[in-house]
Amino acid sequence: MSNRNIEFGKGSRVLFGLIAIGAFLIGVRYIGGLGTVTNLSDKYPWGLWIGIDVLTGVSLAAGGFTLAAIVHIFGKEKYHAVIRPAILTAFLGYIFVALGLIVDLGRGWNIWHVIFFWNRDSAMFEVGWCVLLYLTILALEFAPVIFEEYGLNSWQEKWGKYSPWLSIILVSWFVFVMTGYPWYAGIAFIILAIFYFTYRRSLPKGSTVLLLIIAGIIFSFEHQSSLGTLFLIVPTKLSSLWYTPYLPLNFLLSAIMVGLAMVIFESSLSSRVFGFGLEKDVITGLAKKLPWLIIVTAVVRLYTLYQQTGFVLEGTPAQLFFLGLEIIAGLLLPLVMLLFPGASDSPKTVFYAAAMVIAGVVINRVSVSMVGINIPDIPAYVPHPGEILITLGIISAGIMTFYVMCTKLPVFEKH
């Protein structure tokens, strides 16, 4: 990677434009209140920002932990080449999710209250802590890339020494915060500490990074599912096309699935943008795993839908349309595409199938948070142009940062 010059082409000018517009509108929002740039109302207090910036953002950042599990836990070294970009995506994804969330909060400057005022009954409380802790873990997972680039060897050493302990402590702390029982936290601490010592004694050097990976996967699991938990409290407001007591499970499974799809999608795209020819083998291998994850997600999704509705589907035309898209275009079609013999060898088929899976999950999250929520007699919520532009601005900022970091830092491995 000798050529590290950033080139800002036409595409980036569009991105910069969107960032500027978004920033301006965020300014307006902080002067006039949320009502000035949104269509949110007392009846529809949540809208596009929760649906896209938060719910969708988090689900698409799932590539980080899905791949970390494949490579580190299940030992599939061959995918090592794509783990850094996946972790960077997750890291930036979460940073921009947090940013979007702060814009959405009426009193974003109070966000630190979550650390001091605890309400264990609240699903939102779990969500808040998961964002905080997983962001810390992602920063730790990504740190070596920066140490490597700037030759910070002493930092790297300290990282090797302390990051496992930090991971253990954060997981135990999370258990304590969520339960209030020190002994539960103690059990978590002891189990993870045992792993740490065992790894140090009998596994190859460097295996202590596994603690960090395990912590990351735990927080991801909890976070993805907790976003589903959020909507359990609205059994009468959320359409039965999406509501189910198993919503957290649906969120978790679809996140794991879309995590893999994102890695495939991104690797195909980045290898084009950055010209680092990935071994085709890598994408093919991942593409072979994707159908299984689709099957699991689809079976649970359809079964819970059946439980809830008996397949007597009722809803507004928009709701039925979104449901159809989610299930047919987002689950069944890509599954069929990938099951054709030899499909996983065709980069094009794989790319489009992954894109469809991603679109399906986006539609699902948008449905649960917006389309599926209907208050009788009140016209459905439709996002305000201001909301859309701010979201686009935040996404553009995310893409831009990703591009700059990939160019400046050793994110893609040399071959």
């Binding site: 209250h113 309400n119 596994l203 395990i214």
Partner: protein, 273 residues
């Protein structure tokens, strides 16, 4: 929280209401809420303003009962926070800014709120309201005049009501009274006490000549508190974290141990050759 012995509440009897809206005005006065610019005939009936908002904590809703194209009755109902016994809004609030007090009222504490609006989503009656045009927005809703109750005064709206449509008292007594009224007036009342069982029961009990669903109240609410819907997921956290941690840790150990063996074997083979 389940005990209702000491909890105060209202019995709202729509059949006694004459739609004068003295309560609406009294509420505004006591809580120093600004007037709202309204439009005549904002929706069903003649209610004004059309809905609760950050400036209106209570509202008399109007409904016309039409039978065979003839207006046979005009029914009124007082809309406000129901002060649930186990409120969804309280369980939802991330920082505990909403609290259920021992005396019954559900109140919001300004200092803590982060403005996430999850309480608004969670409330089955869409009660908490938000200041959409404020830089430092509050969550606004009826407080059951907690500040008055604490000082031994009845809530402002109840005091203002001259027809007995709003009775203030202990919930247990009010429930008895409500049952008595339904029994003595089988033709006057629609035979249901809205708030006795809805979402685990509420401090505000409502009776009327028509079902409350006609006033836009949800008719499909469960009998348990809505917080029971998120309970299992929240309770599962320690189990999932510890179980998942153990499973991942063991899998990683087995896989990596195996790999180490393989690489040692291939190394020793390499040494021999």
């Amino acid at each position: 929280m389940k005990t209702t012995i000491n909890q105060k509440g209202f019995l709202i009897d729509g059949t006694k209401c004459i739609g004068c809206r003295a309560c609406q005005i009294a509420c505004k006065q006591w809580n120093e809420l600004p007037a709202e610019k309204t439009e005549f005939f904002g929706g069903d009936g003649y209610q004004n303003p059309a809905d609760l908002s950050s400036k209106t904590y209570t509202l008399i809703k109007y409904r016309e009962v039409i039978k065979k194209d003839k207006l046979v009755d005009w029914v009124f109902h007082k809309d406000q926070c129901q002060h649930c016994l186990e409120p969804a809004c309280v369980s939802a609030c991330i920082v505990g800014a909403l609290q259920k007090t021992a005396a019954g009222p559900v109140v919001w504490e300004d200092r803590r709120c982060i403005g996430c609006r999850y309480c608004m989503l969670a409330c089955p009656y869409n009660i908490p309201k938000f200041e959409w045009y404020s830089i430092n927005p509050d969550i606004k809703k009826c407080t059951l005049c907690s500040d008055r109750i604490e000082n031994g005064l009845p809530p402002a709206c109840a005091k203002a009501c001259s027809t007995g449509a709003i009775t203030y008292g202990s919930r247990d007594e009010l429930l008895k009274e409500a049952k008595k009224r339904l029994k003595s007036g089988p033709d006057t009342y629609y035979q249901h006490i809205y708030g006795e069982d809805e979402v685990g029961g509420t401090c505000v009990l409502n009776i009327s000549s028509i079902p409350l669903e006609e006033f836009g109240y949800p008719g499909n609410l469960p009998k348990e508190s809505l917080s029971t819907t998120t309970d299992p997921a929240m309770k599962s956290i320690p189990g999932v974290v510890i179980g998942l941690g153990a499973a991942l840790g063991i899998t990683a150990f087995i896989v990596n141990k195996h790999k180490k063996q393989l690489s040692e074997e291939s190394q020793s083979q390499g040494d021999q050759s």
